[in-house]
Symmetry: D2
Subunit: 337 residues, 4 copies
């Protein structure tokens, strides 16, 4: 149920109504806008009806929520959400480039690539400390040691960091080390994990599952917002199809459709989306053109020695070329880099 208050309604008016909603064990939502305060109430429709909120003189209109994903839909929230990341935002005028290694491997490795991508215009560093690997015998990441290195990079270079969380019990702890928590594609349906990152209030990058429909993807985001955390960035990273010439099939249709259906920012991961270093630049250009709010790419000073995903990491030369080639397309999209 969406409750639009009259123009002169105050925050106190809103709180009174929210208290009534909460007293019935329904989920209250407070959405102050520039012109009006809008409230939401989510839960059993019959209980909602008992509240008889339409009768309140401060209420202008009460309407049902049609989308299955009530909090992430543009229906309730037509303006683009901007998610903070360090001193910048994702979803605003700037087309953000987040870069870094697949895995944090050592202080030297992380610092070198972070300096390089920052010097070339990256706004944040990505790097995995906990790696969900297909084989239990593969390198699983440096764990807390990796998080400490990310914190060091953040403090030394003054650049925010993004890293993947793979267990609900780690969410709070990781929020102390990094600026944005990433949910990987394999955990998109891990609803307990979504709830855990929702509770931290920390910005979250949610990657689309390997074969998740767009509706499932939006509902996964809804799990996070339903915990009171509005700072979610969606990431299209390729879906699994019959095609084997590329690692995944980057679904740019989905990006265009998501931008219409939700107010959340959408970024693209062309590294996993193609799995081939030589395809990262053209697909990054396409991401800017299709309307994405940024990209997240893997980069490594020496990809041949990377402990994971070396074949898709950009070398320094290619990263520099990426930023050069992106520029006119970002400008064509009316944004800055």
């Amino acid at each position: 149920m969406i409750i639009v208050l009259k123009p002169h309604a105050t925050e106190a008016d809103a709180q009174a109504i929210l208290a009534r909603i909460e007293a019935k064990n329904l989920k209250p939502l407070y959405m102050p806008g520039v012109e009006r305060i809008v409230l939401g109430a989510i839960g059993d429709e019959r209980v909602l009806a008992e509240l008889n909120i339409e009768a309140d003189p401060i209420v202008e209109e009460v309407k049902p929520i049609l989308s299955k994903y009530k909090l992430v839909a543009r229906e309730l929230h037509p303006h683009d959400t901007q998610v903070p990341l360090g001193n910048t935002q994702i979803g605003g005028e700037r087309f953000v480039v987040i870069a870094g290694p697949c895995s944090v491997e050592s202080r030297e490795q992380l610092m070198a690539v972070s300096k390089m991508v920052k010097a070339n215009g990256a706004v944040a560093i990505r790097g995995g400390a906990y790696k969900p690997r297909t084989s239990p015998y593969a390198f699983q990441g440096l764990g807390v040691e990796g998080l400490k290195l990310l914190k060091e990079v953040n403090q030394e270079l003054g650049i925010p960091t993004v890293s993947e969380v793979i267990s609900p019990e780690d969410a709070e702890m990781m929020a102390g080390y990094v600026d944005m928590l990433q949910i990987g594609a394999r955990n998109m349906y891990n609803y307990r994990l979504l709830e855990a990152v929702g509770k931290t209030g920390k910005p979250v990058m949610l990657k689309r599952g390997l074969s998740a429909t767009i509706e499932e993807f939006l509902l996964a985001a809804e799990y996070i917002l339903a915990q009171g955390n509005p700072n979610v960035v969606l990431c299209e990273r390729g879906i699994r199809t019959f095609e084997t010439a590329t690692r995944n099939t980057l679904d740019l249709n989905a990006v265009a459709l998501l931008k219409q259906k939700t107010h959340l920012p959408v970024v693209v991961d062309p590294s996993h989306g193609t799995g081939i270093r030589e395809l990262v630049i053209p697909l990054s250009r396409a991401a800017a053109a299709v309307g994405a709010d940024g990209i997240i790419v893997e980069s490594h000073m020496n990809p041949k020695e990377a402990l994971s995903d070396g074949h898709q990491a950009l070398t320094q030369d290619l990263f520099e070329q990426l930023m050069r080639e992106l520029k006119p397309f970002v400008a064509a999209a009316g944004r800055t880099l």
Copy 2:
């Protein structure tokens, strides 16, 4: 590394070698066979080499493990594993039928359907207490209340139960209520959860992910076995394809292939695999024919009122027909029902 001991080797000989393996922080495996004791050592190949185990006079042969999934492959373990479930086993002569509701909804609902399916030959009851639902607003299961009802059914009817675990922190607790822990399709890549159920030592039913390859599926099982838990049953439950006439595409190719590649039992879930009540019986017959060790089906006394997945649940009439129709195919496969 696979270490085959000489015929006269004792358990004490084996333990001595295992201690050396463990001292190097490698994973030791003890696999006593009818004729020989076989040991395994999993970890960094260079460290393994330092052990110079070939030189031990009690060792007959040392060979590398070729499969990526070392513990689940038939390579190391040619005989079929039988996983205990109450008084019966999965993977033996008996073709097992596990049945019950999608969700545990109430004592009456669960008890009624449990009695019915038990009377018709089901060897275990399935029922969800924690439901991983696409929408955060959908019925999420009764939680501990549901587990208590499953325990009651177990004690009153003397039949084992299977229920899904969705969070690592719940694994130990749930092991106290049910006889087999299920990992759902959405959590097949949730490696922390796999490790958690591995640590409980409890029998596990591992469902194939929506778009998991057979190799990824076997490696997910490997995560559980690598924690020292050999009691894993694989469950094919349909994959996601372009076809929309059925909910999923049941992949019986995978069942035949899995039976060749692994010693673990394989069961089939035709309820989720088709999503259509009328297709459950023919696909159950096909599961028996293709070589599966059993099926797990959804059943409900009144599917129209089910809180989840009612359209694919078998009524009493259909469940009785299922058991009747299965009989000759199970016999043709040289097994009993």
Copy 3:
């Protein structure tokens, strides 16, 4: 439009109505049943209405056709169709096994494998003379020379033959050499070819396209029936999915669903459906159990030297094993082999 005539209606009554339908350039259908004569009229609904057929005293009822595929749906034709193939039928009590090489390579090769599979119970010989190959440089089949060899086998061994047609202009000519025309998976959407085989009146085996939905498959059959040829057998041969461990994913869901939706016989091709010789037997058993009317398998006396698809062809030993293993499952399905 379905037109049910009154019980006492004669064939002459029916012909009078059919003439009126034809005079309006609509497609008339004559479907005499045991109890009633049923007629059909397919075409522009407004023109149909002008005929005012309800007013005819010999007409009991006029109703619209709801299925998109009007001629292949069970709606209009509840009883199973039996398609003649030499002295036998597909779709009757007998579970048919059609076998032979992927390609006709030589007289010796074809004769040897034909004798072997016939001796073991195959009811028809398959063999490609025109091969639609992915590469223009691959062996394209012997052409008319291959057809002549199939005719020789037919005459010498008294067994019917099936062979693929790949061009509309060949349909009539091929109908003179073989007993059943096959439309391959790659040509399922080749509507001109479907119309051409429809016009020959010859029995047709229509294979499902690589990524054809069940509805598209049934509509492809409808193209053939709409030319007046009711003798169509549907063949499920595996669909293209993300899984690469098998060549295709055999979709037995589709077989069960097709048997409910259409009166046409359905056979299964486990050779292409799996692409792995060792999986052909278990999937053939499953095909019998799921309700298929038969299988079509590739067999070769010396698969290592086959000019195409050798890895999935059954050797003599495996073919004999197939027939032995099939027997109890075919019996369990209430049919004969």
Copy 4:
């Protein structure tokens, strides 16, 4: 076999060698370059060896062809091919926009939309006269009548036309009416049709099959080039995946990869690739950014009354917006519109 001639070799030298190749029933290829004449010989490797071409003093080097697709690979032909279309080319500096209705419906409909898209910068008109429809009862196109209308548009407006051919026997005839023959997605594996359009020598637009791999797509083009017709444009038009929110999944990975693997031009069809009018513009921008040589879009003056695919056709307003929005992205790609 690739045969590189010495710098001073003349065309007569080349013809002498080609004659020797042809005399052995091998396929000779003549590929004069700016610096060198390169010849090709395709066929049985043993016969090729017998020719002993290395020994010819005019031959500098003989090397094997590694690609499966010998004529379409960049390996043999590093420079971009430009395919003529009326007075323009596809594959050159200009980013081409081809537009028009799904089906030619009437003179008025075709002329109106053709004038509109031409006035806005389209370089060619698309329009189907023969429509391969899923249902035999759907509108199948105007046939020759439609071709005549396309010819009229061509003569009256001086703009080239593209139309789909669905039967080998129509290829020659259609070549007399239109400027480019289109092979639709459903006929990509229809090798006889590919050969037929190859023989006409007319420019061909080859659409990727619904679930065709990139290798299969290139080999389909190879079928056309192998008939001596070098004028092939590849068209990515979306593949079939599990996603149902869009009609198909436009695979821009494929476009970037194709541009690396082949010298043939590649265009994108965002109308079929998305199936949603509102997504056509963002995906067209992305097509320009990823490196495509143009787009082909459906447009209709009154989409609600279109006989086919109305939901994805651009109205005049949207077509004008498309051309406006494309401009900066085409410029960013270093091309002209």
